[in-house]
Symmetry: C2
Subunit: 195 residues, 2 copies
DNA sequence: TGTACATCAGTGAACGCGCGTTCACTGATGTAC
DNA sequence: TGTACATCAGTGAACGCGCGTTCACTGATGTAC
């Protein structure tokens, strides 16, 4: 076994976190075993507990990391109405629906997360508020606090819409739901901006 | 063992379906084992396969049954705007959020269902369209077909909002998200009615 | 420069447990005589 | 009315398997001398 410098273990840990995040979004939390998660990262099961206290610890860490990635994705759109519109279109696209492993962790895992222990839900809450406050600040620089709930509620709308579109087997209907979701998200946004 | 008439086995099957529906909504699908599901119904694990082909078969059946129950609940509200408003308030209430086992199967299970096999997703799709078309017919008797996507998208909005409220550990924020969700749902409804 | 050693990331077998599923069996029943 | 029997819903032990977790061990490393 090659021995690397001090940054090596951190890099391994990061690799586990990232591949696990994708696996969780694809197969669910309960659907992803520790041995599989480690194999994804090119390791064996035994090394897991050198990096994490427990599977629950990895779940909290991986979900936070996924949300950090989503935050970067969200802030890659230009500020203002046009950017938000582009973001909503990309979020509620057939491509996002059909590739959950590359997509939003909330859409893939929210109801499993709601059944997790409090520390995991706390990690989710902190990370998602990081995203939401970021967007709120860009959307409403003078009153980000009141925009927080608006942005959260639009996020919830998009999450539910993507989940429903993923579960309906009627493809045409699933597409229609995405398109209607886009209209609804923008209508809610405009209603909030007007007030 | 007491032997009953022909209706007895059907009654047992129905009891399994109903207790399993509640258990799934509380602990998730992967989080509910067959032995536990049978114990909930006052039986032992061995009897399961006299009633269902597989766990997946029960999942599809129980989810359909839960949605049938939700359909009855939804149609218990008076038709028209006032009834819809009352329904939205009840759906997006702290009581519903805090008692998933009594509540909406979509809010509890939608992302787990999105990872199920096609027959299960088909059962979900059929049942949810039963609800949606019912509501659409009451909301827009002259054009229920075009109301279908509108109602589905409002359903998705409510599902996502309830899930998010269940996962945020900040209680005040979770309550605020529910209230904003109510406003959003009604705004989307009014926008659809106006056009 | 060469050798002995402490370090420590990762290995892989094993732990007890619960999973979904199968099956030989039980025992109260309604029916046949 | 009384007895023998076929039915069949439900029992409970067992199957192989994967789960999360533990641990004695490996072996390449940088360091000490």
């Amino acid at each position: 076994m090659v021995r690397y410098g001090k940054e090596h273990k951190q890099a391994t840990r990061q690799r586990i976190i990232e591949t696990a995040g994708r696996r969780f979004k694809r197969d669910g939390i309960d659907g992803s075993g520790v041995a599989t998660l480690m194999k994804d990262a090119g390791l064996t099961n035994g090394a897991f507990y050198a990096h994490f206290e427990s599977k629950e610890d990895l779940v909290a860490t991986a979900v936070s990391e996924q949300l950090r990635g989503q935050r970067e994705w969200l802030t890659s759109f230009e500020p203002g109405r046009a950017g938000i519109e582009a973001m909503v279109h990309t979020y509620l696209s057939p491509e996002h629906r059909d590739n959950p492993e590359d997509g939003c962790p909330s859409a893939a895992l929210l109801d499993e997360l709601s059944r997790c222990a409090d520390p995991t839900k706390q990690a989710y809450t902190d990370s998602v508020l990081g995203i939401i406050d970021d967007i709120a600040a860009r959307l409403s620089p003078h009153d980000p606090q009141s925009a927080r709930v608006t942005v959260l509620s639009i996020y919830a709308l998009m999450v539910g819409t993507l989940q429903l579109s993923r579960t309906l087997v009627d493809r045409q209907l699933a597409d229609d739901v995405l398109e209607q979701g886009i209209r609804n998200a923008l209508a809610v946004l405009d209603a909030a901006s007007a007030s």
